[in-house]
């Protein structure tokens, strides 16, 4: 090798890598800090919109946790799996609960939110938050409005069941999407699972959590 005379020492190699790594780390931290607030806001707004969508009429919401045999307000930023949301109208009148659920779909985890009316034992709306179902087939669980609208006023007195399109008899049954049976069944299964988990924790009718004006949980949402 003719250029072996000029070969730089290992110190120079390490130094150049270290400098590049340092600059790169600095840029990444800068962009992370720059976009952090917007990303957090986007996520909060997305969730709030989803809650208002599954609880028609709701204009305010509170985040709740199940603690010591009752639902208590949550005063932290962000959302975790152990939260349930309560929707209220303009005057602070309780409308219903929005319950989160997640489970395996056809390709990846589907996470969704559904509105629940405890007085009627009814699902009053469903919104897919995140999914990677097959475009054109499985993604009909949120693109096919006929399917989505089936969850507006669906009795959940017993387990929901997805049946072949047109075969719906009972009030707890819904028509699956043709060509996306697995995804439709996954949605139903996720709702059943989440409902089983939350229904013993939801207080009896008449004891709904009241709207608390100017609490921090509400403040973080209205930002």
């Amino acid at each position: 090798m003719s250029d072996s005379i000029q070969e730089p020492g290992s110190r120079r190699l390490i130094m150049s890598m270290a400098i590049a790594g340092f600059i790169s780390g600095f840029i990444i931290i800068a962009i992370y800090l720059l976009t952090f607030d917007t990303i957090k806001e986007n996520k909060a707004r997305e969730l709030q919109q989803a809650v208002f969508k599954v609880l028609p009429g709701a204009t305010k919401m509170q985040k709740l946790h199940y603690e010591n045999n009752q639902l208590v307000l949550v005063h932290i930023d962000g959302v975790d799996d152990e939260m349930i949301f309560a929707g209220y109208d303009e005057k602070g009148q309780f409308i219903g609960y929005a319950i989160q659920g997640a489970g395996p779909g056809f390709q990846d985890t589907i996470s969704l939110l559904f509105g629940y009316l405890s007085t009627e034992k009814m699902v009053i709306g469903m919104e897919i938050l995140d999914s990677r179902e097959t475009p054109g087939l499985g993604d009909k669980i949120f693109k096919d409005m006929d399917f989505v609208n089936e969850f507006k006023g669906l009795s959940i007195k017993s387990d929901l069941k997805a049946v072949k399109k047109g075969k719906k008899i009972k009030e707890t049954e819904i028509d699956a999407i043709t060509g996306a049976t697995i995804s439709s069944k996954a949605v139903v299964k996720i709702i059943n699972k989440a409902y089983k988990k939350w229904s013993p924790q939801i207080p009896p009718v008449g004891n709904e959590p009241a709207w608390v004006e100017n609490n921090t949980a509400q403040k973080t949402e209205s930002q």
Binding site: I23, S24, D130, G136
Partner: protein, 222 residues
């Protein structure tokens, strides 16, 4: 001055047709097949790649004399990965809906061999001006390829373009076109079309040259 301008222009143009990264070099196939199920995804992926490629080519070319040969690939990867992270967070903040769709494929731009290939083959050996020109051309070519694939697949597979319905409710979409096999089919057909065009052009140029030769001969004889 004119001459270098022409060469720089040539460096840019070659990426779009003669050396198109997808149709001629057949590079960057992973994003090509994965994110082209709709035209908008393809365009955003193209813009993201454009930003990463132009940025990295500029830096690699500008710092080429300080980059030791032995660790150059690792340094290119650090530079590319930094730009990709910037794109990733910016998309998440500005276009969250599209970021959701492209999600897993944005970080994978780091592994797009087309980008690393341009650093190794071109940016590390040329001046900043040429490197940037080359990067603009290459990413434009990549974007055109992504867009043509995405548009064909969305038109046939959904019956829409950029989400606008084209054929009305009676159209039965060819669902296979937005599934992975549709990507391979469309890519194959586009490659065929591209090669056929190139062949045609070559024959036309040969014919043109022959005609020229004959006129020269005729003139010489006459």
């Amino acid at each position: 001055m004119m001459a270098t301008d022409n060469i720089a222009y040539e460096e840019m143009i070659k990426g779009i047709w003669r050396d198109n990264p997808v149709f001629v070099q057949v590079l960057g196939m992973c994003p090509m097949l994965a994110v082209t199920n709709s035209a908008i995804n393809a365009v955003v992926m193209g813009v993201a790649t454009f930003f990463v490629l132009v940025g990295s080519s500029f830096l690699v070319s500008a710092f080429k004399q300080w980059i030791p040969k032995q660790v150059r690939i690792s340094l290119y990867i650090i530079i590319i990965a930094t730009f990709v992270t910037v794109v990733d967070y910016s998309l998440l903040a500005m276009l969250p809906a599209i970021h959701k769709e492209l999600g897993a494929f944005i970080p994978l731009i780091v592994a797009n061999c087309m980008i690393l290939g341009r650093q190794e083959a071109f940016a590390s050996k040329n001046t900043v001006k040429f490197a940037v020109m080359d990067a603009v051309g290459m990413s434009a070519g990549f974007m055109i390829a992504l867009f043509s694939l995405g548009a064909v697949r969305e038109i046939l597979g959904v019956g829409a373009l950029f989400g606008f319905d084209l054929f009305g409710p009676d159209f039965e979409p060819w669902v296979i076109m937005i599934l992975p096999p549709g990507g391979f089919l469309t890519l194959g057909l586009l490659l065929l079309f591209f090669n056929w065009m190139t062949e045609k052009r070559k024959q036309f140029l040969i014919q043109l040259a022959e005609v020229d030769n004959e006129t020269i001969k005729v003139k010489a004889n006459g």
